[in-house]
Symmetry: C2
Subunit: 345 residues, 2 copies
């Protein structure tokens, strides 16, 4: 940690300076960043994608179990994950911080550092923001992404019967990590590397930005990121497309340690996989013949791609395989942990 500033204005200036540093050089289209009434940029891309995401204390995280750095990381990661699900290239982020008086200045700057490190990794410029006093800690993040043409951005509504349903990465890790954070004794049932990986999955998820762009290039017809959980988010995709999604749970990759942890906690592993949420993997719909090339592109981007089901005529989501769950979206409410990511409006 660098030195900590003394007064509120110095703190805000230091917070801003750490964010300004991140990725500014990587955004040549950004003509005016923070410090004016608005950012100014000159876009050559014509397609624009914008998403917002808020991380609120005691709803999405508890300060006791979340390091400040992870709070900053996760707030931006959740927003970038939305751009990933559009196949957009992330360009700028805007950060609104609600700052309670009982948060140490050092912790405040660690939030900035966590956010800035992820921004730099994805060449995202933090182009503006607001710091305000608030009774609780919250971060409201806006991300702006682009594509050469709007038609290259992938919405939720393109699933058609006969298409293949594909999933990036592995599920269940974020929900398992949350249980480890809330009940540290559960870690006794796992080796320490496995437990660490599960906690990291909850604390500092990786938005699948490169994978999302690769899936868009590979011809994904519809795509969503898994923030609410496979069950709820698949239901969104099914509803938007007016189709049924059939998912074979035996083909859904599950992160190492999830099954052991679920059993130790008296839960079905399928609950964490289907209803856990916050894994921020991508669920997409592809023509079957595009699968192998899409998978090769994702492996290049560092993440595997699995075919986990198919699009059929109908509505809702049907599960087969382990757990044997079959339910429309409402059925998953009761399985969701009480601190879900809230509802998009």
């Amino acid at each position: 940690m660098a030195s900590v500033p003394r007064g509120e204005f110095e703190l805000i200036a230091a917070f801003r300076e750490r964010l300004d540093r991140a990725g500014a050089a990587a955004a040549p289209d950004l003509l005016v960043g923070s410090g004016d009434d608005a950012s100014v940029s000159e876009l050559t891309d014509r397609g624009l994608a914008v998403s917002v995401d808020a991380l609120v204390e005691d709803v999405h995280f508890r300060r006791a179990s979340f390091p400040p750095r992870s709070i900053g990381h996760k707030a931006l990661a959740a927003a970038l994950s939305d751009l990933a699900a559009m196949g957009a290239r992330p360009r700028h982020a805007y950060v609104q911080l609600g700052l309670p008086t009982d948060l140490d200045d050092a912790q405040c700057l660690e939030i900035a550092d966590g956010l800035a490190a992820l921004a730099a990794r994805h060449e995202v410029a933090v182009a503006g923001g607001d710091v305000t006093r608030a009774a609780i800690l919250f971060l409201a993040v806006t991300v702006v992404g682009s594509a050469p043409e709007a038609s290259e951005l992938v919405g939720r509504n393109g699933a058609r019967p006969g298409d293949l349903l594909v999933l990036s990465g592995e599920l269940g890790g974020a929900a398992a990590g949350l249980r480890l954070l809330e009940q540290p004794a559960l870690a006794d049932r796992l080796d320490s590397a496995t437990a660490s990986a599960l906690r990291a999955r909850q604390l500092e998820p990786e938005p699948r930005v490169d994978a999302g762009r690769a899936l868009a290039r590979a011809g994904a017809q519809a795509m969503i990121d898994l923030s609410d959980g496979l069950g709820a988010d698949a239901a969104h995709l099914a509803g938007a497309g007016g189709v049924e999604l059939r998912i074979d749970l035996d083909r859904v990759p599950v992160q190492a340690g999830v099954a052991e942890l679920a059993r130790a906690n008296g839960e079905q592993p399928a609950e964490l996989v289907v209803a856990g949420g916050e894994d921020y993997e991508l669920l997409a719909v592809l023509a079957g013949e595009a699968f192998e090339s899409a998978r090769a592109a994702l492996v290049e981007a560092g993440v595997d791609l699995s075919a986990i089901g198919e699009v059929t005529v109908g509505e809702g989501v049907a599960f087969s395989g382990s757990g044997g769950l079959r339910s429309p979206v409402a059925g998953f409410d009761q399985l969701r942990p009480p601190r879900g990511r809230g509802e998009r409006s």
Copy 2:
């Protein structure tokens, strides 16, 4: 008020529906609005301006004195005011609502109505957002505006010695209105129409969107909106341009009732005018010969324009005229009401 929904999901859906309705038809470039991972738009303008603004309970407003409709209005108005100060055309807004459990559903929908009405008036589409539980009520608003070219957007840093300093509208009303809300007995000193106008200035300020675009077209070199107050915001303009601003307080139009209310409250009228903040008028720098045509354009947009000073070699802000204040920005901190709009980062 329409009927009030029963459950949380119904409430969020109703909140979203009210925002979606606003201005969607007015944004033909918006291809995907709320309900996907991100909005999608296809811009023909190349210059993009983005700003964020948060309104937080017990920092920027108290629920006891702010009707929910005004909370929604003001959150969007403050953000649109930033776009006005760039001379941008507002296009889309994104709303993140932190929703405490003790807020009535009807009040929640009134927040949406206040926001939607202002959005519709400015042909702004609410293109996305998030609703989340939170211990306090907050609204974090992002606005996206545009201009045909980025070079047409007006930053803060273009003030040059010899230029004229101009101001839209009248000052002091928002600060006076705040005092009336917090100490209703003060209204006894004013006629009721004057008191109502002062309260409205605090509760539902009008962002000077058309005036800002007119000033940009008239050749404004630098511009800022008055959220923190004339003293602090003039200092931002002076600092960004590396110049001194000389302001003649006798030429600053003051809203009717401000002087009477200040005296009744044991304050100097100049305090409310210089340090009050939240009037959301525009302070701009123009070549002197552009003043008359700029003024005519603003009068067309329904607001007057006054020449209140000049740009000189030096730094900071110098006041002459009534009050005789002279101070750099730090000097205004003590005059600012404790619930100022926070600091931009």
